[in-house]
């Protein structure tokens, strides 16, 4: 299932404003890649460009190449809607659909697309997704209850279950723990470790310890000043990035000297 992603000379614009400049990176299947960097450095923008979510904002566009297993995601004839089915996303704040029950939330990806699926198969899929998100034991007795009634950490795992229920190849996570308490954060981090066996995961985080804990590869984004585009400064194995980075800026950042 897991796929690789290749970005080549990727520029991302909002209107005429160049937000991210000239990013080239390879993301291997079944790895966890962490994107770190100071606020406004374009790491979230880059993440959103990877499943064409940034197009939701009017005027946003990209130049360059972004490939999923060799297919150009921005090529002519590619439908952003199908891209997003292959590349799922989990957001900063848990956002379960308030009108739906826990069960319906997990089933949402298929239901909203009116995919025909037998009730029994759907039950299996929901259970499997919830189990994969380490949530099944906690919610199996109240699947019909609204998702909004759970704790923040549970809601976030529900969102992960919802994302993996559509069986994507890649899972993008945009600071998935920044709104959660330490215990819920730990639960999510454990989950990420398990999920990487099946998915390629890219996670944006502000928390360097988290990047060090969960990721195999880390990319450091930086920005030279306000109004300047964000750039990928350095990308390497996480261990190396945190012990002996090549760039001075990386070292300053991971050692907490700025950002």
């Amino acid at each position: 299932m897991a796929s690789s992603i290749q970005a080549t000379d990727l520029d991302i614009y909002y209107g005429s404003f160049l937000a991210v400049h000239d990013v080239t990176m390879t993301i291997k299947p079944q790895t966890v890649t962490a994107l770190i960097g100071p606020s406004g450095c374009g790491k979230s923008t880059f993440l959103r460009a990877m499943n064409r979510m940034h197009e939701v904002i009017p005027g946003a566009r990209v130049e360059g190449k972004l490939e999923l297993d060799g297919t150009d995601l921005y090529g002519p004839g590619i439908d952003p809607v199908t891209v997003r089915r292959q590349i799922g996303m989990v957001f900063q704040r848990p956002n379960p659909f308030p009108t739906m029950s826990i069960y319906e939330n997990v089933a949402a990806g298929l239901r909203l697309n009116s995919t025909r699926i037998a009730k029994g198969d759907m039950d299996v899929l929901v259970e499997r997704s919830l189990r994969a998100a380490n949530l099944w034991e906690e919610v199996k007795d109240r699947l019909g209850k609204p998702g909004a009634g759970m704790s923040g950490g549970q809601q976030q795992r529900l969102c992960i279950a919802r994302a993996i229920a559509v069986r994507p190849d890649v899972l993008l996570m945009d600071e998935p723990c920044s709104a959660l308490d330490p215990i819920s954060t730990l639960a999510i981090e454990d989950l990420i470790n398990e999920l990487k066996n099946e998915y390629t995961i890219v996670i944006v985080t502000h928390n360097m310890q988290q990047a060090a804990r969960v990721s195999d590869v880390t990319g450091f984004f930086n920005i030279e000043g306000t109004g300047k585009p964000g750039k990928l400064v350095e990308m390497d194995e996480t261990k190396r990035m945190f012990s002996q980075p090549r760039e001075k800026a990386t070292e300053d950042y991971v050692s907490g000297r700025f950002g």
């Binding site: 979510m53 956002n95 990806g109």
Partner: protein, 360 residues
């Protein structure tokens, strides 16, 4: 207390205004109520001598109460507190005064309307009725049909236009629509009626009176209300839900139909109910587009129809003989109308509360 001595400029800056917290007198808790009771008793007593009038009693009591509290407080608590008390009394009095018409309207309509609030009123038309008896069955049906038609025309337009403004609209077209919806909100109802008249004068010929004309006039009034209400509700749907849906690979229109609208549905339904309540009592546009009949006409595409507000108006404004029979029917029609309108308002409240997205 220490600052009463004349101060030089430096002293005014250097010395604190008061070295000890000011402990002045304070009116007792029961003070204002006691004054109110005393004022009422005094005014009541005086009026009893010259002839009692409820409105004069309330007015004089309120005035006396305000003045008395102000003076008492001024003596004991000082000018600033006294002024504060006076304003509190004024503002509270203004609120009670504003509620008076509402209470008076409801009581009046109830008292006068109950006279003919009988089964006959709901089952008979005025066909062949010259004096007492008869009913407003034809008018009730007419009101329901015409308002229903208006709703059927305006709800889809209003909903879709609001969806356009919130979900798609950018640039000049959206700005133009927003602006002209504002303009439309301000159209006087009689002008909406004239529009329907002018429209049908061109296509059907002058002097036409049809139910559908009334429905079109009401639509002109209803569309902007539906747009505004829906817009408000769609705007408060968090963007995160749209993004969550997009990220699941759901297309935009399905996201709108299956995520955004269900999240906002309670508010939208409440808004639409209020919009219906607003137009169901409209009289002026129906007066000039639909007219009135005495018999039942359920076909909005052929001839005049009766509607409750117009029925009520004509029964009161140009009664037959005996006058009381007509006036009673006018009030009962008003009562039915007010029950419908207030009922719709209540339903809107309930919808908004009961069907709001649950969190538990």
């Amino acid at each position: 207390m220490t600052t009463t001595a004349p101060r030089s400029a430096e002293r005014a800056v250097d010395t604190p205004l008061t070295t000890v917290p000011r402990v002045g007198g304070v009116l007792p808790r029961w003070g204002t109520w006691a004054v109110l009771a005393a004022a009422a008793a005094l005014v009541g007593g005086l009026l009893a001598l010259v002839g009692f009038s409820i409105s004069l009693f309330i007015l004089a009591t309120a005035l006396l109460f305000g003045v008395a509290v102000y003076l008492w407080s001024r003596v004991i608590e000082g000018r600033r507190r006294a002024k504060d008390r006076l304003v509190t009394i004024t503002v509270t009095g203004a609120f009670l005064l504003a509620l008076a018409p509402l209470v008076s309207v409801v009581v009046t309509v109830l008292l006068k309307g109950l006279e003919r609030f009988d089964p006959m009123f709901f089952t008979y038309s005025m066909s062949g009725i010259l004096g007492p008896g008869g009913g407003a069955y034809h008018a009730i049906m007419g009101t329901l049909i015409i308002t229903g038609l208006a709703a059927v025309m305006s709800i889809p337009i209003g909903l879709l236009a609001a969806i356009y403004l919130v979900e798609y609209g950018r640039g000049r077209l959206a700005r133009a629509i927003t602006f002209f919806v504002d303009v439309m909100t301000g159209i006087p109802s009689i002008v909406a009626g004239l529009f329907a008249v002018a429209l049908f004068a061109l296509f059907v010929g002058p002097g036409a009176r049809l139910g559908i004309m009334g429905a079109i006039a009401l639509s002109v009034l209803m569309v902007p209300v539906v747009v505004r209400a829906t817009e408000e509700m769609l705007k408060i749907v968090p963007n995160e839900l749209r993004e969550a849906s997009y990220a699941l690979g759901v297309s935009k229109w399905r996201t709108i139909v299956k995520v955004v609208l269900p999240t906002a549905v309670a508010g939208i339904a409440a808004g639409i109910t209020l919009a219906i309540a607003r137009v169901i009592g409209e009289t002026a546009p129906l007066l000039i587009t639909v007219g009135l009949t005495t018999a039942v006409n359920l076909n909005p595409f052929a001839g005049r129809m009766a509607t409750l507000p117009v029925f009520s108006y004509y029964s009161y404004a140009s009664p037959g003989i005996p006058r009381e029979a007509f006036v009673d029917r006018a009030w009962t029609a008003a009562l039915v109308l007010i029950i419908i309108v207030l009922g719709l308002n209540l339903i809107a409240r309930l919808i908004a509360r009961v069907f709001a997205p649950k969190t538990r």
